[in-house]
């Protein structure tokens, strides 16, 4: 590894291509921690937003008009307002109203930090789309299947969990993938509330080391690799979950 760093150091000295975030141990550590934060943020948001989507789609099928209206209001609100303003609203407006806890040094600090707020707001944003996506999948499940389950004495939640959802997930997986990729890209917005994710760390490094262009190329490559890996994984999942007799 050391040889590679030496080579990059040489490239910097000889050609002025400043890849300091690779060969300098300190900057490399920052960068890797930033990437790790992005991965954590993306994973947690994806999981949470899928849970929101599943629960929301279930509630949308409930008999209570009020519950349905609440979910509808949630969807429309989060779909039609900018995710960045949502994030600011969560962090700057709701954040200060939260109770404070004392940390290990005896200093009071908010119970939820910027990472947690970014996670929550991004999950709610993507969750609103996920509810719609899962609902479209649920609607695609044939009535006869549900009726058959009913006649076998399944309860409403059981039908949803055991019969409808497994079929719905397979139907809506492509749309879900799309939205989750979008969510992974939107995690860059956490930059705005100073979550130390990749973009934030990168901007710190390019301010310190004045290597904007090299940093930008690294950033874009990182996100393309991230999205590529995710798409590949989801493609595998799609193939593994394929229902025989549908599609090609």
């Amino acid at each position: 590894m050391e040889a590679v760093w030496d080579f990059l150091r040489h490239v910097h000295d000889a050609y002025g291509v400043n890849l300091v975030h690779f060969y300098d141990g300190f900057e490399r550590g920052r960068m890797l921690r930033g990437m790790w934060t992005t991965l954590q943020l993306a994973t947690l948001c994806i999981l949470l937003s899928v849970v929101i989507g599943i629960v929301g789609a279930w509630v949308q099928g409930s008999r209570s008009r009020l519950l349905r209206a609440v979910v509808q209001g949630y969807i429309q609100f989060f779909r039609n307002t900018p995710p960045l303003v949502q994030m600011y609203f969560f962090y700057f407006a709701l954040g200060p109203m939260m109770p404070r806890v004392e940390n290990e040094y005896g200093i009071p600090q908010p119970i939820l930090g910027s990472f947690e707020w970014a996670m929550l707001s991004l999950s709610f944003f993507a969750g609103a789309f996920n509810v719609e996506i899962f609902r479209s999948g649920v609607e695609a499940v044939q009535k006869a299947t549900v009726e058959a389950a009913e006649s076998l004495g399944f309860s409403r939640w059981q039908i949803y969990r055991e019969v409808v959802l497994p079929l719905a997930v397979r139907v809506c997986l492509p749309a879900l993938n799309n939205n989750l990729v979008n969510l992974a890209k939107t995690t860059t917005q956490a930059y705005a509330i100073a979550v130390p994710e990749t973009l934030f760390v990168a901007s710190q490094i390019w301010s310190d080391r004045i290597n904007v262009f090299e940093m930008m190329v690294t950033l874009l490559t990182f996100y393309l690799l991230l999205v590529g890996a995710f798409v590949w994984l989801m493609g595998r999942l799609e193939r593994a979950l394929r229902v025989p007799g549908f599609g090609k």
């Binding site: 429309q76 609100f77 039609n80 307002t81 900018p82 303003v85 407006a93 890209k185 860059t188 874009l220």
Partner: protein, 291 residues
Amino acid sequence: MSGRVFAMLRPVAAPVSAEGGFRAALFTPTALVFACIAFASLVVAGEAWAQLRAAGPKPGLLETLWKWTPLLLIGPPREFGGFALNIAVSFLAMAIGTAFGVVLGLGQISIHAPVRRVCWLVTQFFRNSPWLVLLFFVMLLIPFQIRIGGTAIPLPAWLKATFGLSLPVMANVSEIVRGAVNSIPSGQWESAESLAFGRLQTLWRIILPQCVKRMIPPWMNWYAILTMSTPLISIVGVNDAMTLAQDALAAEQRSELLMPMYAMLLLFFFVYCYPIARWTIRLERRYAVKI
């Protein structure tokens, strides 16, 4: 035949009458009512909180919000900014993005393999990069002015930001165009060929006119997404509604104002984007091809 008449082969499916559900789709005020109630309750909650911790007479919350509304909407006097700038940026970015996107999309269905591949690559690159990273890329790597001959043309920040936002739009419009052209039954191409239309003629006079209808709903969808991404330009230092809201909050120094102010900003966008979303759904229903 005059030049403006399109030789259009009728689509295979008969036009669908989608009258049912129109009214319902356009006039469901539930969500709007919801938003207004939420906003009102936020103001009331903020007001109550303010009174709880009031230390001397202060102007009411609604009064304060009202004072800042013109600034948020049209920016400071003799300067272009605020929500109007957000909308202007969204229009301009959409126009640029659409123009380049159509070219790129047509490139993706070109009969020349290298053109097709390059256009595909460009599309995928800009489609899969985060908006904010692209925005930074453009903001930091395009100079603040360009010199052509002896004249320097200044490039203000908002113009660069517009260009940055138009890149992902371009890539997505490119995909919309490709998808729409591919969704036209190949019988259209074959019948055009049998009528001795060239490739360009077929594309221009038969395929594209049919595509327009299919492209409008997803295109509008992307317009809404773009509009909701315009606050990102506040991060790179453009005087949009988001920046001004933060300035106003900094000037007021009142924590109880935080929630109502951000809620008001959300409401601006909601009032603008929600009708577009409803309209898109309506058009989608009308233009849906029933098989």
